[in-house]
């Protein structure tokens, strides 16, 4: 992708991410987060990781954010005034973000090739075949373990939901 397009999308994603923090209303914050995720997906696609980019849009922007929206609706969250917060929390937050920025700097300084020197990638770099080959050969164990973890999560969620109905008021509409 051309440099100007990359800079435009990168700026857009940063603005949207800032919107997530600065918006007062939870639904507006959520929309800003959706925009951030979509723009990052487009960046993935533009940089050649087509499959990952579209999966990002399907899973994060399309499915998980809708769940967030449901949670906001169910808890009936309204516009919250910005509270002062505790000094210790602010201090810890500043410390954490400083550590993250330091990590990013260390990462950039230890890049295998200097910035601006593009390594040519294989023609099928971001293709679904290449991704599947990696998943089902080199990373098979990690892939299967992750899927079992997700399955356990789903079963656990269902079990928790069932227990509440059994102990509380008898389920179903009056």
């Amino acid at each position: 992708m051309p440099l100007w397009l990359f800079i435009f999308l990168a700026a857009l994603s940063i603005i949207a991410a800032a919107g997530l923090i600065l918006q007062r209303h939870p639904v507006h914050s959520l929309l800003a987060l959706v925009l951030t995720l979509i723009v990052i997906g487009i960046l993935f696609i533009g940089l050649g990781a087509t499959t990952v980019g579209f999966l990002q849009m399907i899973v994060y922007a399309g499915a998980i954010m809708i769940l967030f929206l449901f949670v906001i609706w169910l808890l009936n969250l309204q516009t919250q005034p910005l509270e002062g917060g505790r000094l210790a929390l602010k201090f810890l937050g500043a410390l954490g973000s400083a550590a993250l920025i330091a990590e990013l700097l260390v990462f950039v300084l230890h890049l295998p090739a200097p910035l601006g020197h593009n390594q040519p990638v294989a023609i099928d770099y971001g293709s679904i075949a290449r991704l599947a080959q990696g998943l089902f050969t080199s990373y098979l164990v990690a892939f299967e373990v992750t899927s079992i973890l997700l399955l356990v999560g789903v079963v656990g969620a269902v079990a928790l939901a069932r227990r509440t109905t059994a102990e509380g008021a008898p389920g179903g509409s009056p």
């Binding site: 507006h28 959706v34 979509i38 399907i58 809708i66 293709s127």
Partner: protein
């Protein structure tokens, strides 16, 4: 380079106009079709000041209705209720429309048109992960409906929005599984390649269409698609006896027209997807790039332009046929109850879709198809 950009732009505009025109015509089609089904005459009185009628001209109900409906809708007051989130209220119709329209970019409406030395692929965007693209855009279509209901500051609208969101994410799963089984069958995510795989015939007479390989996936995709477009029998989000009009209760004028247009654009989208995945897309039986090869061994040679035109017409006719099927279903079936809707989605279509994927995988691995 410049000419390729120009061709791309022309193709995109043609696809967009085809979809919008067909959606607008479907509006009339549905009113007239419902009238025929219910033994009424239907929309035929929209004459401009009765002008043509007095001069003894034939009844132009079709053209007049097409002009009168948008004129009426766009000259109405655009009302925003008090306490509504003005920005999101205005944004929601566009958020709902945009994903539907861009999905058509990957639907192939013909094979190749050769003009001079240009080989024009009759598909707005030739994406090699088109199936993923479709799932992504359909997933993003939920936001417009959900936020339209929420931003209206109306309880009925919010309830409609919540119902619509829950219904769409439930049926997206079945739709995704149907598409996954087709991807496994053809071994590609590229819709143009899928259409190529469906050309030709079996046994000399049976077209190699996807429905003969995956009939269950076809039923899944059609049912889930109809549920995604939120029309009877799946129109719980706008059940007028309970929720006034659901998520677009508080919309009027042009914005409501956009929501109506989305309904019809979604019908066209479902028809286009079903046609592409299961009915050979632009394939006409016995038509090959060099002309007709009939079962008896007869051969009729055709130039490339004629073949391309036949293919585009074939695709359009198939899409219109499925639009008609959906309108017929809408005026035949009664509305589901909400628990029936959820049961059908989660306990009916989802397990069937999963089983279909497993069976497809077993057939591919063990039979080595």
């Amino acid at each position: 380079m410049a000419i390729e950009l120009l061709i791309g732009a022309i193709k995109a505009i043609i696809v967009l106009l085809m979809v919008l025109q067909l959606s607008a015509i479907l509006l009339w089609f549905e009113r007239k079709g419902s009238a025929l089904i219910q033994d009424r005459i239907g929309a035929n009185r929209a004459a401009i000041t009765g002008f043509g009628r007095r001069l003894g001209m034939p009844n132009l109900g079709f053209v007049n209705t097409l002009m009168a409906d948008p004129l009426k809708l766009f000259t109405k007051e655009d009302f925003v209720p008090a306490g509504a989130d003005k920005f999101l209220h205005a944004l929601a119709p566009f958020l709902a429309m945009f994903p539907v329209l861009i999905t058509f970019a990957v639907v192939p409406f013909g094979d190749v048109l050769i003009i001079g030395d240009q080989h024009i692929n009759l598909q707005a965007a030739n994406l090699n992960v088109a199936a993923l693209y479709i799932l992504a855009t359909i997933g993003l279509g939920v936001y417009g409906v959900a936020l339209g209901g929420w931003a209206s500051n109306n309880r009925w609208a919010l309830l409609g929005g919540i119902r619509a969101t829950a219904q769409m994410i439930s049926y997206e799963l079945a739709m995704g599984l149907a598409i996954v089984s087709m991807v496994m069958t053809y071994g590609t995510l590229d819709l143009q390649a899928m259409c190529h795989a469906q050309s030709g015939v079996w046994f000399g007479w049976l077209p190699r269409w996807g429905i003969f390989v995956q009939p269950i996936a076809f039923l899944l995709l059609l049912t889930a698609g109809m549920a995604e477009s939120k029309r009877v029998p799946f129109d719980l989000p706008e059940g007028e006896s309970e929720l006034i009009a659901g998520y677009f209760t508080e919309y009027s004028g042009g914005k409501q027209a956009v929501f109506m247009l989305i309904d019809f654009a979604e019908i066209v989208l479902v028809s286009a997807l079903v046609t592409t995945f299961f009915f050979g897309g632009w394939n006409f039986p016995w038509l090959y790039p060099d002309g007709f090869h009939l079962p008896g061994g007869a051969h009729l040679g055709l130039p490339n332009v004629a073949v391309a035109i036949i293919e585009v017409i074939t695709f359009t006719v198939k899409v219109v046929a499925f639009c008609w099927l959906q309108i017929l279903a809408r005026w035949t079936l009664p509305r589901f109850r909400y628990d029936q809707l959820m049961r059908l989605g989660w306990k009916g279509l989802l397990p069937v879709g999963l089983a279909n994927v497993v069976v497809t995988a077993c057939v591919i691995v063990f039979a080595g198809v």
